[in-house]
Amino acid sequence: MGLIAALSIQFAQMLLVLALAPLLLGFTRRLKARLLRRQGSSLIQPYRDLLKLLRKEAVLADNASWLFRVAPYLIFAATWVAAALVPTFATGLMFSWSADLIVITALLGSARFFLALAGMDIGTSFGGIGSSREAMFASFAEPAMIMIAFTMSLIAGSTQLSEIAEFVLSTTQLRVSLGLALFALIIVAIAENGRIPVDNPATHLELTMVHEAMILEYSGRHLALIEMASALKLLLYLSLIGCMFFPWGLAPAGASAAAMTGGVAAYVFKLVIGGAALVVFETSIAKMRVFRVPEFLGVALMLGLLGILLRFVSAGL
C-alpha cells in the first residue's frame, strides 16, 4: 500500500505541475497587463493557445531533419521530469532521490542543448542568432546554478532538494550565504526564463530575441510542446525558490491527505506571490542590451562563488 500511495503522490505531482504551468503563465500575463493598464487576456488563455496549437498540423521546413521533429518531445520530457522532481507541495517524493539539484540543472541543460540544436537545424540566420546567444547565456547561467547548488548543499549537507527543504525548515539560523544564493537564483531564474531585463517573452521579431528566435520555425504540436516546456520551466524555477528558501507549508513524506491538501494550498499561494513579484519586477525595469547580460549573469556566478567561499572558510570554525 505504501508503495502505491507514494507512486500516486509522485504522479499527482507530475500532473499538478503540468496543470498549473499554463495557469501561472496566464496569471503573470494578466497581472502584467493590468499593471500596464490594459485589459489583459483571460487566465486560461494559455490553455486555449496550447490546445489550438496541438490540433493544428505541423509545418516543417523542406530541409528539416529528424532532429527537428524529435527535439520538441525531448525538450518537453526533460523539462517535465525536472519539474516533477522538485518538491512542490510535499517533500520526500517517491523518485526525488533519483535526481538531486545538480541533476535537475543538468536536465534543464539537456533541454537547452536540444533547443539550441533545433534552432540551427533549418539553417536560417535567426535560428543561429538565437542558439548562439542561448549558448552564451547558458555558459554563465549553468555554472551559476551549480554554484547555487553547491552553496545550498554545503549549508544543508545534502544536494537532495527534500533534505535541503527539511533542513531550512528545521533551522532557525540565518546564513549570509543563503541570502547570496537566493539573490543568485533569482538572477538565474530571470535569465533562464527569458524574462525582462534579459529577454522579452512578449515580443517576436525583435533583434534582441533569444528564445523566440530559436523556435521561429516551429509550428503546430511541436510549438505547443516547446511553449509548454517553457511554461514548465517558469513554474520549476518558482517552485525551486519556494522549496529551498521558503519551504513553509511543504507536507512531509507520508503525511495525511489533509496535510497534502494544505501543502498544495501553500504551494499555490507561493506561486501567486512569486508570479506577482516577477511581474512587478518586470514592469519596473527596462530590457538590457544583449552584451550586458553576461555581466548580469556573471553577478549570479560571483555571488554563488562567494557563497561557497564563505561556507568553505567557515566550515573549519
Binding site: K56, A64, R69, F76, A77, T124, G157, T159
Partner: protein, 669 residues
Amino acid sequence: MKAEVAILSGIVALFGVAILSVLLPSKRASAQVYVLCLVICAAMFGIATVRLLDPAAYEPLVLPLGLPGVGALFHIDSLSAFFLLVINLGGALASLYGIGYGAHEHEPKRVLPFYAAFLAGMNLVIIAEDAYGFLIGWEFMSLSSWAMVISSHHEAENRRAGFVYISMASFGALTLLIAFGLLANAGGGVGFAALRAGAADTQIASIVLGLVTIGAGSKAGLAPLHVWLPLAHPAAPSHVSGLMSGVMTKVAVYAFIRFAFDLLGAPAPWWSMLIIALSGATAIIGVLQATIESDLKRLLAYSTVENIGVVFVGLGLALAFKANNVPWAAALAFSAALFHVLNHSLFKSLLFFGAGAVLVGSGERNIEKLGGLIHRMPQTAIFMLGGCMAISALPPLNGFASEWLMFQAILVSPVLPQWGLKLLIPAVGAALALSAALCAAAFIRAYGIAFLGRPRSPQAANSNEVDRWSLASMAILLALCLFAGVLPGPVLDALSPVARAMVGGKIPIQSSIDWLSVVPIDEGRSSYNGLLVFTFIALSALLSKQIIHRFASHATRRSPAWDCGFPNAAPDGQYTASSFAQPLRRVFGRQAFAAQETVDMPAPGDMRPASLRIVMRDRIWDALYEPVATVVNRIADQLNRVHYLTIRGYLSLVFAALVGLLFTVAIWA
C-alpha cells in the same frame, strides 16, 4: 602470474604484427593488420577485465631482459588492470574502425607498423614493474605516435606539429628519466619496490612529484604544457587521433597516479594545491579554445585538454584527502577521476572516429565548410550526437555521471583544514562548472554547424556515409557510453579495489543499493539514478508523442523555411561557426585570446565590401614557448658554426672532451 605472461605475449604479438605489416603486400596489409590488432587487443581487454574483477597477490614476473643482472619485472595490480582495460578497449575499437578507415589511407605503410608498435608500447608502460620497462614502453609510445603524426608529411602544418610534439615528448621523457633516477639513486634499484623505498625522503619525493607533473603532465596535456596536443593529435589519421586523445593521455594519467599515489608514499598537502590549481586552469583554457576552434579535429583535441583538467582535478582532490587522512573522501575523488578516465576514453574515441568519418565522407575538417551532414550521413550523425551529449555532461549519458561524482567530491572538501585548499577548491569548483557549460556550448556549435543546417560547400553537399566497420565501432562506443551513464554502479564497484589500493579507502558498494542508484557517501546526502532518469525521460517523451498523435494531430506539411518571411536561399546566409562563437569571443576574447576585431566599414557610396578581421593569439604560446624557441634558435645558430670547423678543430674538441672527462673522474674520487 598467468595474466602477466598473457599480456606480455600480447605485446610480443603486437610487435610481431608491426614487423609483419612491413612484409605484407601493400594491397591487403591494412585490413589484415587491423584485424590482427583487433583480435590481440580484444584478448588483452578480456584478461585485464578478469584481473580487475579478481585481483591477484603481488608476485612479479621476472624475465632476464633489460639491464644485465637485474632482469625486467612485470606485474599487473588493480591499477594496471584498469588502465590495461581502458587501453585495450580503445585499441580494439580503434582497430575495428581502422579496418574500414585504413582503406582510405594513401600510404598505409607509413602508419601500420607504428600503429601496432604504439599499442604494444602503451601496454608495456602499464605492466612494467620497474623503471626500465616503463621508460622503454614510454619511448615506444612517444616515437611511434610521432611517426604517425607526420605520416602525412606533405603538409607543412603536420611537419611543424611533429616537430613540436617530438620536442615536448623528449622533454617529458627526460624529466621522467630524472625522476626515476632520483628515486633509484636513493632506493638502490630500478624495481618499483626499491623506488618506493627511495621516496622515504620527503624532499626527494617533492622534487620527483614536480618532475612527474611536468613529464606525465606534458604527455597528458596539462596546462601550460598542452600546446603540442592540439597540433599533434589532429595531424594523425583519425583512429590514431582517437587513440592518442582517448587512450595515450590516459597512459600519462597512469604514470602520474603510479608516482603520486603509489611510488611516492604519503603525499604532502601542497602537492594537491599545485595539481588542483594547474588542472583547474587546464580545464578552462582547453574549453575556451574549443569554443572558438573551427577545425573539427583540433576542437576535439582542445576538449581533450579540458577533460584531462577534469581528471586531474579529481586526482588533486584525492591527493588532498589522502594527505589529510580522509580515506573515504579520497576514494570518492579518486573513483570520480578514474571513472572520468574511462568515460573520456569512450566518448573522445567516438568523437574522433566521427570526425574521421566526416573527413572520409566529405573530405573536410573545417566545420565552416560543412553543414547538413545529418541528411547525407544519418548514422554517423546519430553517433556523433550521442558523443556530443556525453561530452557535454548531459544526463543520462556517462559524461554526466562522472562529472556529478566530481561535484560530490568537491562538496565534501570543506573538511580539509589547509587555507590554501579552502580558497582554491571553491574556485576550481566554479571553473569546473564553467568548463562543463562552455563545453556544451562548444559542442552545440560543432554539431550544429557541421551536421545541421544547409551544406556550406559542394563537398558537404555530396558527402557519403562511411563503411560499416567504422559505423560498428562507433555504435559500440555509443552503447558503452550509454551503459556507463545509465548504470554507473557496476563500473564504480569495479573501480573500488583500485581506489582501495591507491588511497586506502572505499565508497559504498553500489550493487547493494536499491534500484541501481549511485550513492557516493550516504543516502541522505546525495544519490543519482541514471537508469530512472533515462526511463522517465524516454517514457514521458513516448507518452506525450502517443497522446498527441492519437488525440490531437499527427499531420505534417513540408514547406519552404519561414525565417520571418525573408528566407535567404544562399547557404552563406546561415550562421557560421565563427559567428556562433562571436558572443563568447566577445565576453572572454580579450582576456583569454588577446582577441582584436577590426571592422572596416566603407563610407556610403564606396563600393568596397565591408570586412571584419579577427586576430587571436595563444597567450600561453607567446609567453612561454616563444621565448624558449627564440633562445633555442639562437643557441642553434651559435652551434651551427661548429659545422664548419677544420679537422684540427674537431680533433681538439674531441681531445678537450676526453681531458674534461678524465679531469672529472679525477676530482670525483
